[in-house]
Amino acid sequence: MRKPSRRTLFLGFSVLLGLLLSGCASNAELDTLKPKGPVSREINTLSNWVFIAGGVVLLTIFVAVIYIAIKFHAGKPDNDEFPEQIHGNSTLEIGWTILPAMIMAVIAVGTLITHFAVNSTEANAMEIQVDGAPQNWEPTVVVVGQQWWWEYRYYLSDNITAADLKGVSAKDLPPADIVTSGQMIVPSGEEIELIITSRDVIHSHWIPALNGKRDAVPGRYSPWKIQADNPGVYFGQCTEFCGLSHARMRMQVVAVDNHDFQVWINNQMRPAAVPAGAEALVAAYRNDESATLPDNASAAARGAEAFISNCTSCHLINGVNDLSYTGANQVSGAAPNLTHLASRTTFAGAVLNLYNADGSLNRDDLSAWLRDPAALKDNASTDPIPRGMPNLGLSENTISDLVAYLSTLGPKPSMQQIHDTQVN
Amino acid sequence: MATAVAPAVLDESHEEHRTATGMSNTKLAMWIFLGSECLLFGGLISSYLLYKTRSNGTAVPTDVFDIPFTSVSSFVLLMSSMTMVLALSALRRGDERLSRVWTITTAMLGGVFIGGQVYEFTTFLREGVGFTTNPASSAFFTLTGFHGAHVAIGITMLMSTFVMSSKGKLHQKQSETLEIVGLYWHFVDVVWIVLFTVVYLVPA
């Protein structure tokens, strides 16, 4: 190839490099280069330096190759003219063995400093009220992965650690004060320790704006941490291949200020509201007795009845079936806790909006989900032991009753939160 | 398993030829193959060590070991290495009949060891430690089972050389064939010594 081709090659790379840089500037929700907390910022600083160092080395080598390729270009040999036959140069070679080793040594020092900083935790207990009593709470969330959604468990009354859980099956975790899924609510500005595990296969918990990943391994309780500078919503995605709906196993961290966090705790600690007209029915169910709804019961009350007869073999609502609940008929033994479903803004592993952007209930998706979950998100609910929500063959009337009931499991989050957490 | 290939290459070792190292191809190949086998047993033994107490409350192999019994069968296997040496030295001296005697003795000692292993396995199974009981038992049976399979292949190779010799096709000048079978046999014995020490003797 003649010179123009080499030049084309060079131009091609320049264009590629330009595109690469411009590409990083786009508005990706999972962007790894836009840290929003001190841990991810620390990682980003390290990665910036190594990208610069790597870029310089790469550029040097490319310039050298292109220069040499052009300068010493001779075409097909048509004679016995040979260049000087050089077999090597020990000094040079030792030099370029030591040089990269020294560059690496410098990078290694920076890496180790960052690595141990990222893996350390600080004692940052905060004052919270639990059932009106003050608690010194070291912010910690137990993160449990299962196909294909995340559960977040808050032990507010005792400062649980990974060591406490050693040997405990993730299918048999101690009861938590608050159990939610898909959205982790955390106080902003605080370091949140995560204890990550799984109930079935390996998953990986990743909120790029706040920190790197940590795998959720069944039988292990891996420590990790996140911290958000400011209140806001930070998107995440399961990043260890976990089967059919791996792509649709997402999550969000919603960081709120300390006041809002306390309000959230207060709301979550309450049992679910029982719709008017269903009180007797629910009370009877809790006592293992039977009762019937009045004829003029509201849709929400009928929905509570439908929940009791269709959903309680998997789902838990505190104040309804918490006395009789023994776990879900699932491989993981778990299904999302629905006590305050409507206080969240997403469902089905954070892939569907519970509220529309205008703040109204997303009745369409919720109904479609109850009609045939697998149509919206692939699952293995027809396996002998299901994985994922099965199609229960609910009638349209039952579906609309259930939607009415589920929408009462609030309180409804703020418009700001609904807006910021919209997924598509 | 690739081990089974070994008898097939035996006939390629009849003669000494010029090689870059002076060692015949077949013998060198066996050494290389045994190097690979080290990693196979290394992987199996490491896995067992990781798993030996993992049972979620059910009985693990260390609970049911009968050390005296296994010591005896280990001794039997160890003795077979000695008879293997005798078989080879007899063939090298040209005493084909004596070599056959020692060869069949080696195979029989190996057979006794396998018999002991079968007895041990069935006893463990009766005592509630089966292949599918827990990770510790799965790792134990797989490790010792793989070793047992190696011994069985070794016995097959020994019997094959015995038959060859009986038919008059294994003479002094082909003693390398027996030597290579012997290499394999000694390796399998050494693996057992490691395995017996690590699995049976080192406390849990």
């Binding site: 180790l112 598509n424 | 992987g43």
Partner: protein
Amino acid sequence: MAIVEKPLSLDAADVVVANRPLGVLTRPKGGNGWRDWLSTVDHKKIGVMYGVTAMFFFVVGGSEALLIRSQLAVPNGRVLSADVYNQVYTMHGLTMIFLFVMPLAAAFANYLIPLQIGARDVAFPRLNALTYWIFLGGAIFLNSTWLVGGGGADCGWFCYSPNSGVIFSPSHGVDFYAIGLIILGIASLVSAVNLITTVINMRAPGMTWFRVPVFTWMMLVTQFLLLFALPVITVALFFLMFDRLFGSQFFNPDTGADPLLWQHLFWIFGHPEVYIVVLPAFGIFSEIIPTFSRKPLFGYSFVVFSGIAIGFMGWGVWAHHMFVSGIGPVSVAAFSLSTMFIAVPTGVKILNWIATMWGGKIWYATPMLFSVGAVTMFTIGGISGVTEALAPVDSQQTDTYYIVAHFHYVMFGGGVMGLLGACYFWWPKVFGHMLNERIGKVHFWLVLIGMNLTFGPMHILGLQGMSRRIDTYSAGFGFALWNAVATIGAFTIAFSLLVFFFNIWKSKKDATHLPKPGPDPWDARSLEWMLQSPTPEHNFDVVPEINGLDEWWHRKYGYDDDGKVIRIATVEEAAQKGDAINPHLPSPSFWPIVVATGLPLIGYGLIFNLWLAVPGGLAVAGGLYAWALEPTDDPDGPHGGHHDDHGDDQPVVVGAESNEES
């Protein structure tokens, strides 16, 4: 030159056994029909069969890649269902690694190693045939899961437990994965034993270790990596198979198992595997770049030692695949450091290749274009690899498309482009005609542009946070643009492959009216170019005595008093004529293919019905015994005149000079 014959020492009994009629399995006599290909033990024919099979699976794996890229071309793609997508991406990885790159490298290893070290064949020609047939059987077995196993494996090529368990992957795909890889592993292991023995034992007289061509050196390191890595993955695969088929508890966390056991065993194999894929290409660059720069390789010993260093250090870095698995910060730090420093020997090689070009008279024939392109592409992959070695940075990058970009630059940019260059370089040696240079250059630029379009954007996607192994993504993530570009790139690569096939077809057609390339069309340096093209069936008329590195070049050129290179012999004078009379060759045999047929049968038996394993076991055992009883050389073979029973390992016709060592 004397013709030395080995003494006749075949026992009469052996001859009787060999002549016993065996129906269709009567010992074949050689020739050129299909039966000859089935029974050949010629390392060159076996090499060609490896190559053809590998290219076939390149098309298969490439089609799978196109399906993946079609699915991801736009947000919320629905070309494939999630289930099928998972199967396709798993089989893409398995096919490309185990059925394309490794066997294509094996093709060159088989063909070239005996030629580069001056041997008549490999140490065990029949074992060599056996490894090919086992490989082919394993490849067919692994892919037959599409038809009989209820779909491909859907657990990724890494197949992490417990997601690979029966509960989470109920089809037979993972069973085929486990048994298929065991079978392929047996093939590679036997091949490794054979090739290591060949290189250690069968070097021509005078070929000391520091006169061994770099390609052979790198292949030797590769074979050692295979030798020690394969048993580890075999252990893991047996565990997986036992769990799935016989209910053992290796990977069931509910009974106390640790899922990380699989990861450790897998990556102790899996990381050396990376070097298994890329070291052959390092060897290829080290042959091609000096040839087309008209200079010796700069720093031969540094290149060789850095290859060996990579081989050793490759064992101490496996857990960098597990930085986020939760193995503890101290382990992570240790593996992070070891991984950073493996960049050093790799960097040394790159600089040595560049220094080889410096001051040269560079001829950009297609093989050289591919090699220079591959070195630069590999450099990109190497540097992105360094960023991943930094554990904290990796916690953001791992399991994203950044990793996909990285290893495709290494394996496709470095490995595959290197191997494609090797096809152009050695084509005349294998087939006796050149590949068309003009089309070759079009091919090169299409590959280079295509791969940068495909894998370059994946760096950005990864940094934007696109996870690996997702079958779909939302529009809101901002991944659409670069995925579209990558898909265009993938189809460009596919088109380049069609150009390559067209080149093969056209070059063969044109060969009839073009001048023959002769033994040494590139003015190259190593021994294979001393032989006629295509290589005569018996390789060397007389085994050459080796006096130095780049022996063949030194037979053509010397230095005058001023140290200037002068020609001392023409190619015609220095090359061997390929006219040896009665060259002794190992005889063909049907037993390798019989033995190889048994293994997949045992596999099907384990999965479906144990009775099926009986004929399989009989084929293996019976085949091995028939093989052992069959003398290495057929007394009625086609090269009559004399027969003897020296092993497969010795050429009968050796140069007189070889006697000094015998």
